[in-house]
Amino acid sequence: MNALTRRKLLTTGAAAVAGAAGLATAARLAEKYGLIPPDHGGIYGPGETLTYACQRILTSHRPMREFPRSMISTPFVSPYGKLPAAYHASRAHNFTDWRLTVDGLVTHPLSLSIADLRALAVRSQITEIACEEGWSYIAEWIGTPLSLVLREAGIKPEARFVPYFCIEDGLWDSLDMTEANHPGTLLTWGMNGGDIPVDYGAPLRLRVPRQIGYKSLKFLTRITATDSLKHFGKGLGSSSPEYGYAWYAGI
């Protein structure tokens, strides 16, 4: 072995050791600061973790992207599954009996009607909803910030995620506390000046304007607070990864 290759071997070895140690430290820090997504396993895990961690570092304390009223555009109905009989029954009553359950790591679990939400707080935003397929539209969304509802329920400090469920069977998702507490994350009951139409998620849709459209679940029935996603579905954070889609949809 000549001097050149020995030197190369030594430096490569040193770099590998330093790299491994660096990675281990980075992993510990990332876990501590909540930069690891629940679907971090598998061959796509490294890319997904990098995306989530970087976007969390860059965007956590930033606002959402808002537009002037003049930019409200022709909307498009993203397809949804067959709705159960309970939905149609509630619709026949103009959704007056619709309830949003708030439970989990909260001091006072709640059961809120749309009128209760309206009474709590009203915010409106003009934001774009962009589907992972590529299409998008801008609408005015009117509702009650999720963060205020969580505060009203007395969310406990140990809560780390907010899973949410809808009337469509098997469809659920979750947000980290950064996104759940973001002022743009809206329990939406109005759209473009009126009630939100059925096709767009009546009577209640969770709008997550800083993530791709599939995080904005329609027909919302329950939100909860938890310190771990392990016992929800397959523990991947939402039903999306079970269908092959990423839990975090910031891009």
């Binding site: 909307p75 774009e128 590529g134 743009g184 891009i251």
Partner: protein, 260 residues
Amino acid sequence: MPTATEIPRETERSSTFRHSFLVRITHWLTFLAFLALLVTGIEILISHPRFYWGETGNVNTPPLFTFHIPSSRSSVPTGYGYVLPDQNGWSRYLHFEAAWLLVFTGLVYLIYLFASGHLRRNLFPTREQRSFRAYTTRFANYFRRTPTGANELHRYNVLQRSSYLVVIFILFPLMIWTGLAMSPAFTAAFPATSSLLGGRQSARTIHLFLTFALVLFLIVHVTMVALNGFRARMRAMTLGTLKPDEPHDPLEPTTTKERP
């Protein structure tokens, strides 16, 4: 370890040294990432093969243009009576993972480019190449299939240099920019990323045009490699060496005689 470019031009070597280790490894990592991005990009495209200009666009708004291909979503009117299977989930996972590979590889390569002098020496057009005439002459020689002149045996010609510079400093950076301009989280933090391009849908359309440009580069690049001796070029970009009796790249020092 001396890089290829540091070896004096007339050095005697039994097998000539071609591309440096770093250039070879980053070349193939970039190729791997690009291939993954291209395949998954096409998969994502077929879920909505319509393109728009401006901030918003969907099947209820007029497209800028449409690919008349089947789609993986029933909500897109294609004229075909069937819907392709949905591949967007893993395609999106892999697209972003490959994008990370590309970004890291690109950063390493860029540092090398500037630190080693590879950029100044081999990629930036030389003084005598910096003229309009240099371009037209080189183009004319390509079309006449004029044999490569002695002055081009040891270095990239002006068209090669210009193409590589465009790919490295214009196409890939714009690709990353337009990609980020479609990220709702990134544009929430940095709205100008999207608005400077004319909006989210414009960014998506430019992202596609850039794909065309990179695929065109890939086709021309591989064609040129094939025309100049595929095996020799592949050896130069993998093992980093050429046999003395083989035609050699016009980039690096060599002891071989003229091209056979």
